[in-house]
Subunit: 106 residues, 2 copies
DNA sequence: CCGTATCCCCTAGGATACTG
DNA sequence: CAGTATCCTAGGGGATACGG
């Protein structure tokens, strides 16, 4: 019996990525950004029912996880764009697999 | 335009699978069951810190999503075994991809 | 236009105790 | 062994209002 193995394998931390993935709206935000880069308001109006406060919180969490990146463009007026990072793009692809899985077993 | 529809459902569904995937401990439970079928107590003791009440709730949700199946074996004493369904096995594999993704970008 | 702060309610989930 | 019942609190998330 390898107690050390059991410890290291199953006492793992509650990873931040799961925390944010499980949050409401995350899934919709990622799917939207997978299709197109977008500004805050574009996301908010595209996803019906999503409150600005929640979007704000969620984008910050996704940034921390390096799933989404925030770019300020120095135009006039300056605009802010959100897009998926490379990690985020890969993640979105995996998420689609889960969607596909669900529809297959529906 | 059906405003009533928008009001009642926010137009886009919050899929049950995401709800349970995002819950704490779900990830650990799935990983454990991917390695071996197990009884209630085996799962609980293997995963450090997981309360019985939470495990109970989680297993029920996972059953509803057809991710985990519950089998009562008619021995004496009768035992209850939890295992991944085919859907659950596929899901576990996808989840591993996310883990792999995380470690790759860590 | 691009958000953040605040308030408030409701549910998740941990501790504990108890049943078949 | 295999759970369920209860209680309690911490945080998610919606509405609203406000700052840059």
């Amino acid at each position: 019996m390898k107690e050390s193995l059991i410890e290291t394998t199953y006492s793992t931390e509650w990873s931040g990525i799961w925390q944010v993935l499980g949050c409401k709206w995350t899934f919709h935000i990622l799917r939207f950004l997978a299709v197109q880069d977008a500004q805050f308001n574009q996301i908010q109006t595209a996803i019906d029912g999503l409150p600005a406060s929640t979007l704000s919180t969620r984008l910050k969490a996704l940034e921390e996880e390096r799933i989404v990146s925030r770019t300020v463009e120095d135009s006039s007026p300056p605009t802010v764009e959100y897009s998926l990072t490379e990690k985020g793009t890969e993640l979105a692809a995996i998420i689609e697999q889960i969607e596909e899985l669900e529809s297959r077993y529906a």
